[in-house]
Amino acid sequence: MIRLRDIHFRYNSRYVLSGLNFAVNPGDRIALLGPNGSGKTTLSHIIMGLLAPEAGEVEIFGKLRRTEPDFQDIRGRIGFLFQDADDQLFCPTVLEDVAFGPLNLGKSSEEAKRIVRDTLAALKLDGFEERITYQLSGGEKRLVSLATVLAMAPEILILDEPTSGLDEATTERLAEILNESALSYILISHDLDFVRKTTNKAVTMRDLNSNGTAREPIHSRVA
């Protein structure tokens, strides 16, 4: 589904990704592990076309993706859950926020409202439609963010630290939701317990970067 070949990416003079290779196949539930600053989020942003690599190929759903329109095609099919729910939820009510994606995909407002109802019901968030997004609790914000992503019926998910700041009960619920879904996903997380419960593969950023030398500055920084 996703194939990255020989990706190079740097911030100023510091290479975060150097010769990275990465693939996601149907059924994969991959945990992406690595210390802070090792390029996990960068990698996920390259997949979504939010960052452009200096060199290398990004192939998604069987096609090479280079330009903004190439990536616009895939954004409905890959659901991206951001680290901070306040970045994701920007509409005043839950209804409008969850409907935002489906409306962008060209659904009518009737269809969009039906999708919102079904998605919220599937996440046991019935009755949240008229709640004000910025007044939700941290856990509710996370689940509603997930609803906004699932409402687009993605084929694959990218979850960036979905458990950060969540209490045990909400973390547990998130694990259940993921396990019950049939989706493939890439999970970026430092929560090893959560990773064990929800993934069937794990890779480290060290594994993915073939060239070890360019990574040195990061390691010395972390140490």
Binding site: H45, L50, I78, F80, D86, D87, F90, N104, S109
Partner: protein, 247 residues
């Protein structure tokens, strides 16, 4: 922060079509602002006062808002009666109070209060997002509408961030004083807020793009004009005409 503190009720004023409210407020405000007659300005107060009474919003909160506006108007009362040329009605030593100055102050006070009360009664009783919808339905340029909307949505988040930073500063022993250290600290605080807001705005755009955003907002609810909306529209226009013609 309660930006929408008047919007939470459920009276017929709250339920009016926001498009009508915006037009009515605009027409009324322009007429009141142009008007030069004291009596007409006093009569103009009837319109917002009646609406506020009908909306059932907390009078205490309304007075608190008015107090803020009138604090500025107080400055006019301090200066204009003494400096505006006209008939002297009272003198204290070298200072002379002029009749025309007093009347001008009174006129400005009546006008400002009438306009502010109308804004509270009509715009304040709508949710910001429905006003945003109304503006985009009325053909206001998208960029302006988006700017207005995002300011509203993220003021709350930035305000929270500001309080978190301030708390963190206090926990480390920061006290406000009149010295360079305090000024510098506040400058840093404002600086980091700007930087963080900028970063956040970039993350928001990224998150929106990931959900298929291509520069266009689609609207879920559409406004519908009902009997009451036509009534309010007609009343406000009629009342404005009366104010214009009567004096």
């Amino acid at each position: 922060m309660h930006i929408e503190e008047f919007a939470l009720g459920d009276s017929w004023v709250h339920r009016l079509d926001p498009r009508v409210k915006i037009v009515a407020t605009f027409v009324f405000a322009v007429v009141v602002a142009l008007n030069q007659s004291l009596i007409a300005s006093a009569v103009a107060l009837i319109f917002p006062v009646a609406l506020i009474a009908a909306s059932g919003v907390s009078l205490k909160k309304v007075f608190l808002r008015l107090a803020v506006v009138n604090a500025f108007i107080l400055f006019l009362w301090v200066f204009i009666p003494f400096t505006y040329p006209g008939k002297v009605v009272w003198s204290i030593g070298p200072l002379e109070v002029h009749r025309e100055g007093l009347l001008l102050c009174l006129l400005m006070t009546l006008k400002s209060n009438a306009i502010i009360l109308t804004v509270i009664a009509l715009l304040g009783t709508s949710r910001v997002f429905s006003l945003v919808h109304a503006l985009s339905h009325m053909g206001v340029p998208d960029k302006l509408v988006h700017l207005f909307f995002f300011c509203f949505r993220y003021i709350h988040v930035i305000h929270e961030e500001y309080h978190r930073l301030l708390t963190a500063m206090k926990v480390r022993g920061f006290k406000q004083r009149t010295d360079l250290h305090t000024y510098r600290t506040y400058a840093y605080l404002v600086g980091i807020l700007l930087v963080r807001s900028f970063d956040r705005s970039r993350r928001i755009v990224a998150a929106m793009k990931c959900r298929g955003f291509r520069g266009r907002f689609y609207i879920l609810h559409h406004h519908e004009m009902k009997g009451g909306d036509y009534m309010l529209g007609a009343t406000s226009v009629l009342f404005s005409i009366v104010l214009l013609v009567a004096p």
